[in-house]
């Protein structure tokens, strides 16, 4: 990969901060309004807790929260990883095989219509409360966006580039690694990012349905115990988990396709 200029990054960050001070102010304002309206309207603590209390109580329960973040994180990473590893080659195969395009492809499109999360109770009844059913559910919600975007990515090389490749007489492999793969990466990343957002949602819902640990389990239990403060703390860690995965994928995108318009800093 060619090197890209990293110097303007700090300048760009500064500029972004300058441009987003209103957003930051609004964000802070939102939490202030939340904090003081709970007090002002005298909302009972078992309904809604002010942010300050969420931080305080959450910190007191940090050990459990961190452990459950680890549990849910494992489900997310495994499900997502397996989805990437299986969906990418399958998408590639479907894009290049007219047989698969006429058999598996329509099947995948049909399955895509089914809300995958609806399978969660079944998987849990088949496989129990452990790690496996959650990984499968995360896998399911990640697999389809990746495979569908990969098919699109690998079957949409421009007409001119296709002709160019043929005119050079390059073989299948050389054409693939020098042109087809790099040309397909931006569209693949659309799938990776979409799946990254799905992953934590899938894990949390799977845990709601049946589990004895994890952030989804935690949120459900503490809500049942009238502890919205801890529920919010759980949501905070779940968000953090989702953002981390999304951040890693975005970082990979920046490193792999710095030339693409979605990544370029101007």
């Amino acid at each position: 990969m060619e090197s890209f200029d990293k110097k303007p990054m700090f300048a760009a960050m500064k500029l972004r901060l300058q441009n987003s001070w209103m957003f930051v102010a609004f964000f802070i304002g939102f939490f202030l309004v939340w904090e003081y309206s709970v007090i002002f309207f005298d909302i009972p603590l078992y309904i809604l807790t002010p942010p300050s209390l969420i931080v305080e109580k959450g910190a007191a329960d940090l050990d459990r929260l961190l452990y459950y973040t680890y549990v849910t994180g494992t489900e997310v990473v495994l499900g997502y990883g397996v989805a990437v590893i299986l969906a990418l080659p399958l998408g590639l195969a479907i894009a290049f095989s007219s047989l698969l395009k006429r058999t598996i492809y329509p099947f995948i499109v049909c399955i895509e219509m089914v809300p995958k999360i609806a399978f969660a109770p079944l998987f849990i009844s088949w496989l129990g409360f452990g790690l496996l059913p959650k990984v499968i559910i995360v896998f399911l919600v990640c697999f389809f966006p990746i495979v569908l975007n990969a098919i699109l990515a690998f079957s949409s090389l421009s007409e001119e580039l296709t002709l160019f490749c043929r005119s050079t007489g390059a073989g299948v492999w050389r054409t693939f690694f020098k042109v087809r793969l790099p040309a397909a990466l931006p569209q693949c990343f659309v799938g990776f990012k979409y799946a990254a957002i799905n992953a934590t949602v899938g894990a949390a819902i799977a845990e709601f349905i049946g589990s004895d640990k994890g952030l989804g389990f935690y949120i459900q239990i503490v809500t049942g115990n009238m502890r919205p403060d801890l529920a919010f703390a759980g949501i905070f860690f779940l968000t953090l988990l989702g953002l981390s995965l999304f951040g890693i994928v975005t970082l990979a995108e920046r490193l792999l396709i710095p030339w693409h318009i979605s990544v370029r800093r101007t």
Partner: protein, 255 residues
């Protein structure tokens, strides 16, 4: 091996049945080795189609293309093609894009390093060798694509409107660069352009094509000395050729 090109009864029809579009031909034409022939014809008359059939990227409906004595049946890898739409990839720099042509052919980059420098300098892109296509204007991209198309020293070149997106001034300059390069290498060139003056300036022959389905209206030998600099362009012979072609186009009702 001689690199003359022969078209025999060459014809292209797209589609079948009532929706069929007869895009080109039938055409018989023989292009001698070292010739610079321009195809001049109204839009949609099948010039790009002819280029595709010549390079073996598109199958002819009828007739044959023969290059250097052997019939074209698949992609020809020993020729240089510059497509009408540029074939630069966004993830490589200008230089990287030129190198892509060599890498795809399994050629050594080291061997061609000087050649790349010279080519880029000849189209005034040496300062932009390390830039990506999106940092270039349309005309600069076209010049980069030109270098990409001819870096591997092809003895036959098919150039489909290579100067189409250039402004008049750059175009003038690249024209003389192109002429100089051609005079050095004496490759066989088929050149598509919409500019009558450009065709007359660069070519040994101009083939005027009729509106779709394109057939050859007239072949005009341009018997003027090379290099065709400013003086040649002001000569009465030059103007007479331009006038002759303009008359044909006026007959078509396209100008």
């Amino acid at each position: 091996m001689s690199h003359h090109i022969e078209f025999a009864g060459l014809k292209k029809v797209f589609g079948t049945g009532p929706d069929a579009v007869q895009a080109f031909g039938p055409v018989d034409l023989s292009i001698a080795e070292g010739e610079f022939i321009s195809l001049l014809g109204p839009s949609g008359c099948g010039k790009s189609t002819l280029m595709m059939m010549t390079s073996g990227l598109l199958e002819a409906t009828e007739g044959t293309v023969t290059i250097g004595g052997s019939q074209v049946k698949g992609p020809q890898t020993d020729i240089g093609v510059m497509f009408q739409d540029n074939t630069l990839v966004p993830w490589r720099t200008v230089r990287g894009n030129v190198e892509l042509q060599l890498e795809m052919r399994g050629k050594s980059l080291k061997e061609f390093s000087d050649k790349i420098d010279n080519l880029l300098a000849s189209v005034h892109l040496d300062d932009f060798a390390d830039r990506h296509p999106y940092e270039l204007s349309g005309g600069m991209q076209q010049r980069a694509a030109f270098c990409q198309a001819m870096v591997h020293d092809p003895k036959t070149m098919l150039l489909d409107e290579p100067l189409g997106k250039l402004d008049a001034m750059t175009r003038e300059r690249i024209r003389s660069d192109l002429q100089r390069l051609w005079m050095q290498e004496r490759a066989t060139v088929i050149f598509v352009t919409h500019s009558i003056e450009e065709a007359v300036q660069l070519s040994t022959k101009v083939a005027v094509i009729t509106p779709r389905p394109g057939t050859i209206e007239r072949i005009i030998e341009i018997d003027l000395p090379f290099p065709r600099d400013f003086d040649v362009k002001n000569s009465p012979e030059f103007t007479a050729h331009v006038r002759e072609i303009q008359e044909i186009f006026r007959g078509y009702g396209v100008i």
